[in-house]
């Protein structure tokens, strides 16, 4: 018998997060069920699950977005609760509602919270009403005739963005109001060209901003605590690559204010379960960006510094239990860094790569949440994440050394990855000094190129590779010592 009102949990996700959730499900004494698509039959979660329920769809991703099919899988496997992970349906209020209607416990916030925070403008207004700063902005659609004047009133630096935009296209920074009209015209024509929509909005631009987010937990009884902040400023193409906790060099009074603001927002939203409040921080000011109503990819750095298993807490909260600790019980020790290992080519603008995972051997002294298994493949069907490497040290400097060392020992063979790039990024002077911001990776584009190979390295590589080429070996079949040496090499 389970100590919870449910005995099994269906994990409605795949890859590293499905495996990670299943570990805590099993440790909580519950039965773990996983959904899987036949094209993705060799994921890391498969061997951890007690039962697999197969789902299908026009594409593998479509299957993971099929609400009816997933709820049916939960019913058939008699799962009493469902964990959505991140991505896919994790922040879909309709899904959370359907799960609850089916009599299954949704391990996540109430549908109303998902809805409130999912609408970015509504969330912004909700937060602004609490007296928490949001980045000042003006929306052209509110009153097109006065848009330029209202933008002028905001003051510089300004960021002009297409309303329909995304991916950084058509965004223009204005540092001198003399150029405001010209930049608005350029942004408008780019918006028109890229999105077929020339409407704009203007937002106060924060120079060299940092992305700082706060982990919160709320229970059914209305208790809300924060588990301190994470810094996720190192991003490429608006996606996080390296996350750490605590945020380097953040003044103690700012940390207090940001963490308290996050708790205030969660409490006002009557937030239940795990959530993350994201802020932009720069020039001593912080602004609310958005709230993510789910478990984040980067949650392990918080687990490493607080010693709290976030998924186990999510399950307890969903079971209706009150938080087992208070704010004052939450302390942080040391510094943690997460490195996202992606199949991508840093020297080609981080373009995703695909290929077989011929070898995958993480260092045995670090946490590695694997998204693929040795013998598996990274395909275009899902995101190109190979796994997350998490290190924990007494200080940031110690954690950086551990991270670099762990990356050196992480063996991934069979496709191009960002491991080499991450090593170069970690040893960059600004990164090492904690002077990070969301534009740093773009600024330091010279780090994306693989350094040229030394002649000695080439000679060693050829010496290592040659015995594995049958054509070459046949030629030299008269050298028995070599074949003896080959016998001990693993393919």
């Amino acid at each position: 018998m389970s100590r919870y009102p449910f005995e099994s949990v269906l994990v409605a996700n795949r890859g590293e997060i499905a495996a990670r959730i299943l570990r805590s499900v099993k440790e909580s004494g519950l039965r773990g069920v996983i959904i899987a698509h036949p094209d993705d039959a060799h994921g890391p979660a498969m061997s951890l699950a007690d039962e697999v329920s197969w789902i299908d769809g026009q594409t593998p991703v479509a299957a993971f977005l099929d609400i009816d099919q997933i709820i049916n899988a939960a019913k058939v496997t008699e799962a009493g609760a469902l964990h959505p992970g991140y991505g896919f349906l994790a922040e879909n209020a309709r899904f959370a509602t359907a799960v609850e209607k089916a009599g299954i416990v949704f391990i996540g916030p109430r549908p109303s919270s998902i809805e409130l925070m999912g609408d970015k403008i509504r969330a912004r207004n909700f937060v602004a009403q609490l007296g928490i700063p949001v980045a000042p902005s003006v929306i052209e659609d509110d009153d097109p005739g006065t848009f330029v004047d209202r933008a002028r009133e905001l003051g510089v630096p300004l960021l002009i963005k297409p309303s329909a935009g995304g991916g950084g296209k058509g965004m223009h920074i204005v540092r001198n109001l003399r150029y405001l009209d010209a930049e608005i015209e350029r942004a408008r024509s780019e918006g028109q060209r890229y999105f077929g929509d020339g409407r704009l909005y203007a937002e106060r631009y924060i120079e060299c901003p940092r992305h700082i987010e706060v982990q919160v937990l709320g229970d059914e009884s209305g208790n809300v605590v924060h588990l301190f902040e994470r810094d996720c400023s190192l991003q490429r193409r608006f996606q996080k690559v390296i996350e750490e906790a605590p945020a380097p060099g953040l003044p103690a009074n700012i940390r207090d204010r940001i963490c308290n603001a996050a708790v205030d927002i969660a409490r006002a939203a009557q937030y239940v379960n795990a959530g993350t409040v994201e802020f932009i921080y720069g020039a001593g000011q912080f602004y609310f960006l958005e709230m993510n109503t789910r478990l984040q990819v980067e949650h392990p750095v918080t687990e490493a510094t607080t010693g709290i298993d976030l998924v186990a807490e999510q399950i307890r909260i969903a079971a209706g239990e009150p938080l087992s600790f208070e704010q004052n019980d939450v302390t942080i020790s040391g510094h943690a860094i997460e490195l996202r290992i992606y199949a991508e080519d840093s020297s080609h603008d981080f373009a995703p790569t695909t290929g077989p995972i011929l070898r995958l051997q993480p260092p045995n002294d670090s946490r590695f949440d694997a998204g693929v298994i040795e013998g598996g493949r990274v395909t275009t069907a899902f995101d190109p994440m190979i796994g997350k490497l998490i290190v924990h040290g007494e200080s940031r400097a110690a954690a950086l050394i551990k991270a670099e060392d762990a990356l050196r020992r992480l063996i991934v063979l069979g496709l191009r990855t960002n491991v080499g790039y991450l090593r170069r990024l970690l040893t960059d002077r600004e990164v090492a000094a904690g002077r990070i911001h969301t534009g740093l990776i773009q600024e330091k584009f010279q780090l994306t190129a693989e350094p040229p190979l030394e002649r000695e390295t080439v000679a060693r590589l050829i010496a290592l590779a040659a015995p594995h080429v049958p054509d070459l070996c046949r030629e030299a079949a008269a050298v028995p010592a070599l074949h003896r040496a080959m016998g001990s090499w693993r393919n």
């Binding site: 991916g167 950084g168 296209k169 193409r237 080609h348 603008d349 981080f350 373009a351 077989p356 011929l358 070898r359 051997q361 990356l407 050196r408 020992r409 063996i411 991934v412 063979l413 069979g414 191009r416 990855t417 491991v419 080499g420 090593r423 693989e450 190979l453 390295t457 080439v458 000679a459 060693r460 590589l461 050829i462 010496a463 290592l464 590779a465 040659a466 015995p467 594995h468 080429v469 054509d471 070459l472 070996c473 046949r474 030629e475 030299a476 050298v479 010592a481 070599l482 040496a485 001990s488 090499w489 693993r490 393919n491």
Partner: protein, 138 residues
């Protein structure tokens, strides 16, 4: 049979060495067809084995290549030439976009545009032939 290893786009003669300049346990090796992956000194490398005959055949073809190929998957955003145009090596013939980056495709030789394989808005895979040229008269 002798041949080459292609490492980071560069070709190196493949030599089966009898001296042990490296202990096998210094490195991790994995093989898939003619691709040999080696983790050495904390860095992963890909070596592509190419026997001498295929290597020189491919090289000869490259020297007289009369096509412009896609360096990466993407979409055509502009076509700067028309069939029959005479172009010089290095002239921009096509603009493509991939991963939000616009790239100019250049003519490989002094030649004439024979066929344009894609129109604006069409997508293509890496290595797709975008334009075929001919060396004939105008």
């Amino acid at each position: 049979m002798s041949g080459m290893f292609i490492i980071e786009g560069e070709a190196y003669p493949a030599i089966l060495s009898t001296s042990s300049i490296i202990k096998p346990d210094d490195a991790a090796i994995a093989i898939s067809g003619n691709h040999i992956w080696i983790h050495l000194d904390g860095r992963a490398h890909e070596l592509i084995w190419c026997d001498a005959v295929s290597y020189y055949t491919a090289k000869d073809t490259a020297n007289t290549d009369n096509t412009a190929r896609a360096p990466m998957p993407g979409t055509v955003v502009a076509v700067q030439v028309a069939v029959g145009d005479r172009v010089k090596a290095g002239d921009a013939v096509l603009a493509i976009e991939s991963m939000k980056l616009e790239t100019r495709i250049q003519a490989p030789c002094d030649c004439v545009v024979e066929k344009i394989h894609f129109t604006v808005g069409q997508s293509f895979d890496r290595d797709a032939v975008l334009i075929t040229f001919s060396f004939g008269g105008s």
